[in-house]
């Protein structure tokens, strides 16, 4: 029996369709269908000037919009050869890690409610609010920040912001302990997660899975560590990975990443130099190509921009991590029960905005 889980279904965070073929309750085949949210951002970008694309890049992902606008700015800086002031890079790292925390907390909330646990949802959303408030006082918006600029960031840190950020880090760390209690202390949570949705290392590499699912399958590769962008090379943190490759490993990798993010924020705020936070960006890009790669909360985000000398990009290609990860979903789903679909797909942290572009 083919069942359409989607496009309107509580399991799909966003608008997509997962067709599963079930035998009783066991899944024998699965086929994801995406494209319901295709807005043609790549085509729109070809008709906008370089600065105008930054708010559009924000709209790629509602969960972690800052990463995408930062990735866009990074790519265009690579194309134009703009030097970013050091303070701006540190501010970017702080905000990026905050965005990662907020995104992971939102994932945790969605994951908890996928598993039927209202408590996790509401606690995570409550704590995400702290980070969102901080980012709002910095950038002026709660969800689509429009904060990075080509050649820096839009605003300097408000007074006392760094102290508030450190306090938020402490708060999040105490809360993370509570989450570990709440989830791993619950036997049912472990029953639902351990040995569910196994993705072997070979499959993960072959299918192009990136980010936390890849690290949970035993590949220790983090763009921030192995190919550092911004000022990540100066900061001390660990790459979180686990060898199991099941849902619990993915959950655990994300929780560990949140701990590491708190660590990074502390270091970056302590080392933040004084100075300018923005430079004047050129209006026109040279003829050539630019490439940007970041470690999005969901995986490897990439942009490839082709400039033709005018003030508009000739071509902007966006690599969405979820678009590739969801294509690997059938290999994780087959053989498990129907109730595991929500655990497995929830563990991938779907974000349809960036998947469909």
């Amino acid at each position: 029996m083919w069942i359409n889980m989607g496009p309107q279904h509580p399991m799909t965070h966003g608008l997509w369709n997962l067709r599963v073929k079930v035998d009783g309750e066991t899944i024998v085949d699965a086929e994801p269908e995406v494209g319901y949210l295709h807005r043609g951002i790549e085509k729109i970008c070809e008709n906008r000037t370089y600065p105008q694309i930054i708010p559009l890049a924000d709209r790629l992902c509602y969960g972690s919009s800052l990463t995408w606008s930062h990735l866009y700015c990074m790519t265009v800086e690579d194309l134009m050869g703009v030097e970013v002031p050091e303070r701006a890079e540190y501010i970017r790292v702080v905000t990026l890690e905050m965005q990662r925390l907020a995104s992971h907390l939102m994932w945790l909330a969605a994951y908890a409610v996928d598993l039927g646990m209202m408590a996790g949802f509401i606690y995570s959303m409550r704590d995400r609010e702290v980070l969102v408030d901080l980012l709002q006082s910095l950038s002026g918006s709660r969800l689509t920040y429009n904060y990075p600029r080509i050649g820096g960031v839009a605003h300097d840190l408000p007074p006392n912001w760094d102290r508030e950020a450190l306090r938020a880090c402490n708060y999040i760390e105490t809360r993370l302990k509570e989450y570990e209690d709440l989830y791993e202390g619950s036997k049912i949570f472990m029953m639902r997660n351990v040995d569910v949705g196994l993705l072997t290392k070979e499959d993960a590499l072959d299918l192009g899975v990136t980010g936390p699912p890849l690290r949970a399958s035993g590949v220790r590769y983090d763009m921030r560590k192995d190919r550092p962008y911004s000022v990540y090379s100066d900061l001390d943190f660990e790459v979180c990975s686990r060898p199991e490759g099941d849902c619990f490993a993915r959950y655990r990798v994300r929780i560990d990443e949140m701990w590491e993010s708190c660590k990074i924020i502390r270091q970056a705020i302590q080392r933040m130099p004084k100075g300018k936070w923005r430079t004047v960006a050129p209006r026109n890009a040279p003829v050539g190509t630019g490439l940007g790669r970041v470690e999005d909360p969901r995986g490897e985000g990439m942009m490839y921009v082709v400039g033709d000398g005018s003030d508009k990009p000739y071509r902007l290609k966006i690599r969405s991590p979820i678009f590739i990860t969801v294509s690997a979903a059938p290999s994780m789903l087959v053989g498990y029960k129907m109730a595991d679909v929500v655990a497995i797909m929830g563990g991938l942290d779907m974000c349809i905005g960036e998947c469909d572009r």
């Binding site: 906008r48 000037t49 600065p51 105008q52 694309i53 930054i54 708010p55 559009l56 408590a119 409550r126 609010e129 408030d133 709002q136 006082s137 910095l138 950038s139 002026g140 918006s141 429009n146 600029r149 050649g151 820096g152 839009a154 605003h155 300097d156 408000p158 509570e178 209690d181 709440l182 202390g185 619950s186 923005r278 430079t279 004047v280 960006a281 050129p282 209006r283 026109n284 005018s310 003030d311």
Partner: protein, 285 residues
């Protein structure tokens, strides 16, 4: 269970984290991007906000103001607005701001279309702490300048250079704004009061600069009328007089001269020129 312990603690010690919305509201930061306000007195009607807007939700409207006369000011369609804040960021005279007003819901689409008068708030800018830094710079009024070179001699930073104007038998002082320290010595030195101290805000956007094709310029002065910052001056070119039928010499031809320090890169001269004599790289008509 550990879960239960946390629940009991939350039950006894926790305070509600939600905000009872219509009665309580969140405190919004100053940088919050809500509804627009426009300071009519500061706005020069250059239209840079129109050019940067990603959604083309702004337009310039010709209005008659009892105080300011015939002016052009931007209006905004909030129904299309992205609230990216680029218009406020690019405004050369910081006349446009985004307020913290966020309750903009309405029943009809038409009510989102705000004309310049709807967003006018001349007092708002005084309550707003501007993040962009300003400095005082000497601006040149070319019609008064006599090319006496006194300003260039006075400048301690040697940042004023007297550049000859092509086909016009004059020189104009060009000020290197990056080196200027706002000492205002040139202003006091000027015998004709041609240099005016003006407050200028820094801008992070590289703006396109107009270029004049002298062979095509007819001296119609349409660009000078269109320029919102009065950066274009029409100057006579000696030696270009036509000989009239009666043997007298007529009026000499005029050409446009740009004072680039004043230019905000809005491209209105480029649009106003009917003869294609002004070109702006990267701007479409």
């Amino acid at each position: 269970m550990r879960t239960g312990r946390q629940f009991v603690r939350s039950l006894i010690l926790g305070r509600p984290n939600t905000v009872l919305y219509p009665h309580e509201k969140l405190v919004l930061p100053q940088v919050y991007r809500g509804k627009h306000t426009l300071d009519f007195k500061k706005c020069i009607g250059c239209g840079n906000c129109l050019n940067i807007c990603p959604n083309e939700c702004m337009w310039l409207e010709k209005i008659e103001d009892p105080e300011l006369g015939k002016i052009e000011r931007p209006g905004v369609d909030l129904g299309r607005c992205l609230f990216c804040g680029f218009c406020a960021e690019v405004c050369p005279t910081v006349a446009l701001h985004l307020t913290t007003e966020f309750e903009l819901a309405d029943r009809e689409r038409e009510s989102f279309v705000l004309s310049p008068k709807d967003i006018r708030d001349d007092a708002f800018a005084s309550t707003f702490k501007e993040e962009r830094q300003s400095r005082k710079l000497p601006y040149l009024d070319l019609s008064k300048c006599t090319s006496c070179e006194k300003c260039a001699e006075e400048c301690p930073e040697m940042c004023i250079a007297m550049m000859p104007i092509e086909k016009v038998d004059k020189k104009k002082p060009e000020i290197n704004l990056a080196k200027c320290t706002s000492c205002e010595k040139c202003i006091t030195a000027c015998p004709e009061n041609a240099l005016v101290s003006t407050e200028v805000y820094e801008s992070y956007f590289e703006t396109p600069e107009p270029r004049l094709l002298l062979s095509k310029c007819t001296g119609c002065s349409a660009c000078a009328r269109a320029c919102p910052t009065d950066a274009i001056y029409m100057m006579e070119m000696p030696g270009s007089e036509k000989t009239l039928k009666d043997g007298k010499k007529g009026k000499p031809k005029k050409r446009a001269v740009f004072v680039f320090e004043k230019c905000v890169g809005c491209g209105r001269c480029f649009k106003a020129c009917k003869f294609g004599a002004i070109e702006m790289p990267g701007v479409k008509k």
